[in-house]
């Protein structure tokens, strides 16, 4: 009997198994041309019952708890690592439904990785079924840059006295608050409209405005899970909303995607989020 040695990692001690994603074994993707992490071996598939585990051997020294966080402290390295990880998952998603893993899910051996996935096979099958023929889209709403200056004809004139000055300051403060309130309400309106195209929706934490540059404030950072055939509908709707003068005056709408459904790949309470979100 001959041992199938072709895909065995040559040095078990010097490498760690990095897992990117899980997909159905029956829809095994073609991984040639997918590089994975720098310095690692070929990206390959491990079989865990009905599932395929997308994995790669990576240098243990680069992915150790002591070295990896430090490596990711370097923005160029972080970007490379993030994009490499994302590219593997995206490549798998072209031909198969996929459950993505977060960056740096690491195992000591193929056997350990397979065991960890096999243990939760039923959960994975459920999530894969739910994500089938669906993609994630991002809808971001930011405050319009040149927020409308409400009519204030007397603004140019110097204040007559202290009281007038205070009144003006108060007025400006109030005006700012009102503007903010309107911007938030606009974002809510956009969210309510776009989530009707989705089977599930989640609000992600708004991203910070670009530091230093004083970029626009983000009012909404939503993730939507859409059936494939409704993507065009979302884009069209976003276009219509963005063109609506009542919205355009206060907010900008940006649609990103399609994304692999990262935000909806959860083994726990996968049906809970819509209900939880509806309470908001």
């Amino acid at each position: 009997m001959t041992e199938p040695t072709a895909h065995r990692p040559d040095d078990q001690s010097g490498s760690t198994v990095c897992v990117f994603a899980v997909c159905p074994a029956s829809a095994a993707p073609v991984l040639s041309g997918v590089a994975g992490h720098t310095g690692g071996g070929p990206v390959r598939l491990l079989t865990a019952g009905p599932l395929a585990v997308v994995a790669q051997n990576v240098p243990a020294a680069d992915f150790a708890p002591e070295t990896l966080p430090e490596r990711l402290g370097d923005p160029a390295e972080l970007e490379r690592c993030a994009r490499d990880h994302h590219a593997v998952i995206t490549a798998v998603a072209r031909t198969a439904p996929v459950v993505p893993f977060p960056l740096a899910t690491l195992y000591l051996s193929d056997e350990r990785a397979v065991a960890a996935v096999a243990e939760r096979a039923r959960g994975f099958v459920r999530v894969l079924d739910r994500l089938r023929h669906r993609t994630e889209w991002g809808v971001k709403v930011t405050a319009a840059p040149g927020a409308p200056a409400p009519a204030a004809p007397e603004l140019a004139a110097a204040p007559a006295d202290g009281r007038a000055y205070l009144a003006r300051v108060r007025g400006r403060q109030q005006e700012r608050e009102e503007r903010q309130e309107v911007a938030w309400r606009t974002a809510e309106r956009v969210y309510a409209a776009v989530r009707r195209t989705a089977v599930a929706a989640r609000r992600l934490r708004p991203q910070d405005p670009v530091l230093g540059g004083g970029g626009p404030r983000q009012l909404l950072n939503a993730a939507l899970l859409l059936d494939h055939h409704r993507a065009a509908e979302l884009r069209e709707l976003a276009g219509t909303l963005a063109a609506d003068p009542a919205i355009a005056r206060h907010a900008r709408i940006e649609v990103t995607g399609p994304w692999v459904p990262y935000s909806f790949a959860r083994l726990d309470q996968c049906d809970e989020e819509e209900r939880a979100d509806a309470v908001l």
């Binding site: 897992v19 899980v22 159905p24 029956s26 829809a27 009905p50 992915f63 708890p65 990896l68 966080p69 990711l72 402290g73 923005p75 972080l78 970007e79 993030a82 994009r83 990880h85 994302h86 590219a87 995206t90 072209r94 031909t95 459950v99 993505p100 893993f101 977060p102 960056l103 740096a104 690491l106 195992y107 000591l108 960890a116 939760r120 994975f124 999530v127 079924d129 089938r132 023929h133 993609t135 991002g138 992600l204 934490r205 991203q207 910070d208 670009v210 530091l211 540059g213 494939h228 055939h229 993507a231 065009a232 990103t256 399609p258 994304w259 990262y262 935000s263 790949a265 959860r266 083994l267």
Partner: protein, 123 residues
Amino acid sequence: MTSTRRTLQPLEAYEPLEPYPPRTANLADILERILDKGVVIAGDIKIDLLDIELLTIRVRLFISSVDTARKAGIDWWETEPALSSRAARDALYDENKRLRERLCELETTSDHRRDRHKESETA
């Protein structure tokens, strides 16, 4: 065969309507997804990744300011420990060096004192 097909059929025409755009996506969008989202199952090796907010801030700060700042001859981030792991290392190294020097200094003075003490005893 039929039972697996029911739950895990391969997809005919799974291809999304539009191809996924891996290279063009905004880094902050990718980071928030690959650090915070996806199915989390315990790995054998526990990596404590930096907080997404902190990472995003760092990255944005670098992206938005490096070029303009370099042009203006500003390079403070390279020596700011909170922003550069190299600077953090350098700061530790400097501190270590200062402590060693101080220790050396203290040892020498205490040696001197002991010597002087001994001298006065023998005298």
